[in-house]
């Protein structure tokens, strides 16, 4: 069965599928966001807060950010694999990448969840 490809024995298949899944989530969110920006025309501070108020929008934004983090981790990791042949250098860069993405997740969570 195809599902065999999704076990730990084939990490590349998992990475590939995750990159597609997160891409799909982000694509749907982006279209929603553009339509919402066009409809709501939030050009004052109050309107901007209202734009941000609904909990479904905050949850969607948070899910978007989680997807973005996984997507960027897999994507930038591939870029490092291609262009940074030195293993020590690569592992340092990967650690910096992971720390940055976790900091951004904490930051974004704080922005989307508070109040």
């Amino acid at each position: 069965m195809m599902t065999k490809l999704l076990t730990k024995r084939y990490p590349g298949m998992r990475a590939w599928l995750m990159q597609r899944l997160t891409a799909l989530i982000m694509a749907v969110y982006s279209v929603m966001l553009f339509i919402r920006i066009l409809i709501l025309q939030a050009d004052s501070y109050e309107a901007f807060l209202d734009f941000f108020q609904p909990s479904w929008f905050r949850i969607a934004s948070w899910l978007f950010w989680i997807s973005l983090s996984i997507h960027a981790w897999l994507g930038i990791r591939d870029v490092f694999k291609d262009y940074v042949p030195n293993m020590q250098m690569r592992s340092v860069l990967l650690k910096i990448l992971v720390v940055l993405l976790w900091v951004y997740i904490a930051w974004a969570s704080w922005l989307f969840v508070r109040k």
């Binding site: 799909l24 982006s30 973005l68 960027a72 870029v79």
Partner: protein, 137 residues
């Protein structure tokens, strides 16, 4: 990028591998152009994440900060940078959707792939132009 694992992890001596350092001898067909731009724009989007979060935090924090953000984004130079960023997003988006389509075996012959590459490039520029008109008009 699809790199053949058995090739990339082979134990052959590194110095025996062929190298081509003259970039001008590499031809860049349209599919390759869309592909490398997808990679470049993905990296750009990653690099601007902290700026996006910072602007978002400022805009949410108070009415005065919100006005400040609006006035920053209103300057012609920043608007131009914003357009560049918007193009990066649009291109990555359309090229990404093309990727997903081809992953489910849609539009995969060479002729069709070259056609959808053109569509991706045009859509990315078109969306940016529409945004530019909205920003300046």
């Amino acid at each position: 990028m699809q790199v053949n694992e058995t090739q990339s992890s082979c134990h052959c001596k590194a110095k025996n591998r062929p190298k081509n350092l003259n970039l001008f001898t590499i031809r860049l067909p349209i599919n390759a152009l869309v592909s490398i731009l997808h990679r470049a724009t993905g990296c750009i989007l990653f690099l601007v994440l902290p700026i996006i979060l910072l602007l978002l935090q400022l805009a949410l924090s108070s009415a005065a900060h919100f006005e400040r953000v609006v006035s920053i984004l209103d300057s012609p130079f920043i608007k131009l940078m914003l357009l560049g960023l918007a193009w990066a997003f649009f291109h990555h988006f359309f090229a990404g959707v093309r990727h997903l389509a081809m992953d489910v075996h849609w539009m995969t012959t060479l002729m069709k792939a070259r056609y959808t590459s053109k569509v991706v490039l045009v859509l990315g520029v078109l969306a940016t132009v529409v945004l530019a008109v909205k920003l300046w008009a």
